[in-house]
Assembly symmetry: C2
Homo-oligomer: 348 residues x 2
DNA sequence: GAAAACTGCTAATACGTATTAGCTGTTAAT
DNA sequence: ATTAACAGCTAATACGTATTAGCAGTTTTC
């Protein structure tokens, strides 16, 4: 079965009574070369191509020319499983859109890695199939990133990345500025005791939020509580907030915020009357919680689009790529209000 | 920039003091050939490969061997844009999972086509980059399908497809049986006047539902109403149902069902007390409506997995592929109840 | 009327790997 | 002592395209 007797340029050439080279030239010769092939011959070749339905083998094309019009997409976690789907889908949406626009195909590097541990440079690294690669994931392997940089492989990261022996080309969201903005808003609403609920891990996205958070402390606000373990019981976190005297709590994870809000409601506390809550980032799927949290919007689709465009530019002009941070617009929501006049009463 | 001085087997060969052929054999020679290379030499070559970080160029590999370990994924609509995302994501989830398991990468054929009109066989058809292809979409181009079949290109469709000059290998959901099951349930609950709200288009998925629906008519149930235009005003559809005397309405589109249920509620009618509603297929995103409709589950992930497995099998064994329909389990829901004893009263 | 320019093509080669046939030197069989 | 078998490699080629150098014949130039 599957007996592809694939047509080649040689077949076309014989049918048209020319050489393989002529067929190739007719298909995609430089204008100067084309000018030397009379219209009659060109039409004859084209006619054969039409009737046979010949299409050039992209693999052979890549062999000869070096380029492919394929963009690799490497995700450090599986892209689609539902837990991740909401995270990756908006990126992929933007990537696909821009790829289609630029007439590139996408190669999802899914096979790489042993077990669940995905690696870019695995034993059989398939990166080179693509002309370049987009890298995304919650947390990167810095050694791999460093290798991409030193090898000068054309790639673009989605999300800001620290230098690794050289600048990493990326398109990220400006979490630091957006976080700072929300803190300033809280302070201007009278809050001076702030809580930060989230980890301090090494990931850039976490670092940026923390930086944005602490950068304005001292100018009216101060840190009353820092819970760095996520997924603690909601009641415990709530207790911490209340007893610390914090009047505004900043959450890294929407999930934590949802749970704490529910716990507060259960205790008869209401947000933002009794205390304010802010989520540092987009609600990935807002529909799940009825509460519209004050937060900021991460322009994931746009990140995907711009990263793709940057990558294509890197490939086509052999340039080095740059570093772009996109603004994350604040989302007003309904969980940030003025500082309660008598916060102590909350404890009753 | 991007000065890849890509390592080749020739470089490795020189460094190890052997020939290019030996390097290739060390990497993936048949056992019989490998047996003739002493461990010492193999280790020497492996060592060079290790230290240099050489990886074979998959393109050249494909050139020489004909296979790639890449599966193409062709979608007739963009896969990710949010309207489609909920439709395609479960399929892709299954596909990605199985692809990773079988150690294949996925090539998303996004570039093909002119404007929004995607085509498999466009002027520069990139299908051949992959070893085979999965084809998905709400509606297929039968001519393209026929061409895939006659060219004996290894592909598998997701969703049942009619023969097109030959059997089409597919993994689909058994909508016909699942629909029949729901109709039988309604009949056994005393319903005899049934409404069908949905188109009759040429798409197989629509045909199958309609077949399942009509196949049991006459044996206790009969068609009281058939609204074939979708997206009509909900009130109008509701009027039709009520005035036709139908006591159970079957919907192709969840969206229509949601709207009609809302309209009914507004008029003081309740489901399933006043009339029953059934949706023929999975709620793609159940969360949006509070009502849990009686329907059946389309095992999209499993379809993706099995289609991928079938495709890999087709590729690796050069077999022809088969046709598989997966069972769609009924979802009980809360919108199918006994036939109201005095349906006329509903009109009041 | 010889050189130059141009026209219409083709031969040859590169791309990087897989694979087969086969070469050279050694050991085993008869 | 000759042949046969085998060990340890390598040369050569195929895969399908893109591209450059250049050939043979015709036309232009001065």
């Amino acid at each position: 079965m599957t007996g592809h007797k694939r047509l080649t340029q040689n077949d076309i050439a014989k049918l048209a009574g020319v050489s393989q080279a002529t067929v190739s030239l007719v298909l995609n010769g430089a204008p100067t070369a084309l000018a030397r092939i009379p219209a009659e011959t060109r039409e004859r070749v084209q006619a054969v191509i039409q009737t046979t339905g010949y299409v050039a083998d992209p693999i052979a094309r890549r062999m000869a020319k070096g380029l492919n019009r394929i963009l690799g997409v490497f995700t450090y976690e599986p892209a689609f499983p539902s837990a991740q789907a909401d995270f990756f889908t908006p990126f992929l949406l933007g990537i696909e859109e821009e790829a289609q626009h630029q007439n590139y195909d996408l190669l999802l590097l899914t096979s790489a890695g042993v077990g669940n541990n995905r690696k870019i440079f695995s034993e059989n690294n398939r990166l080179r199939i693509a002309d370049g690669c987009l890298v995304l994931g919650r947390e990167f392997d810095r050694k791999e990133l460093a290798r991409l940089v030193t090898e000068d492989y054309p790639f673009v990261a989605i999300g800001r990345r620290d230098d690794v022996g050289g600048p990493v080309p990326y398109v990220g969201g400006d979490y630091e500025a957006a976080t700072r903005h929300l803190v300033e808003m809280a302070v201007s609403l009278g809050h001076s005791q702030l809580a930060y609920i989230g980890p301090e891990g090494p990931a850039e996205s976490i670092v940026d939020r923390w930086r944005g958070f602490v950068s304005t402390l001292g100018e009216g606000g101060e840190l009353a509580l820092h819970v760095d373990a996520v997924n603690r019981p909601a009641g415990e976190i709530l207790d911490g907030i209340v007893s610390s005297g914090a009047t505004a709590a900043f959450f890294i994870e929407l999930a934590d915020a949802v749970r704490v809000e529910a716990a507060a409601r259960e205790r008869g506390l209401s947000v933002p009357q009794d205390f304010s809550m802010v989520v540092l980032g987009s609600h990935i799927r807002a529909g799940r919680s009825p509460v519209r949290f004050t937060s900021y919007d991460i322009p994931r689709e746009e990140m995907g689009r711009q990263a793709t465009a940057m990558l294509v530019n890197r490939i086509e002009t052999a340039s080095a790529g740059s570093q772009i941070l996109l603004t994350c617009e604040p989302v007003e929501g309904e969980t940030l209000g003025p500082c309660p006049s008598n916060p102590a009463k909350r404890a009753q």
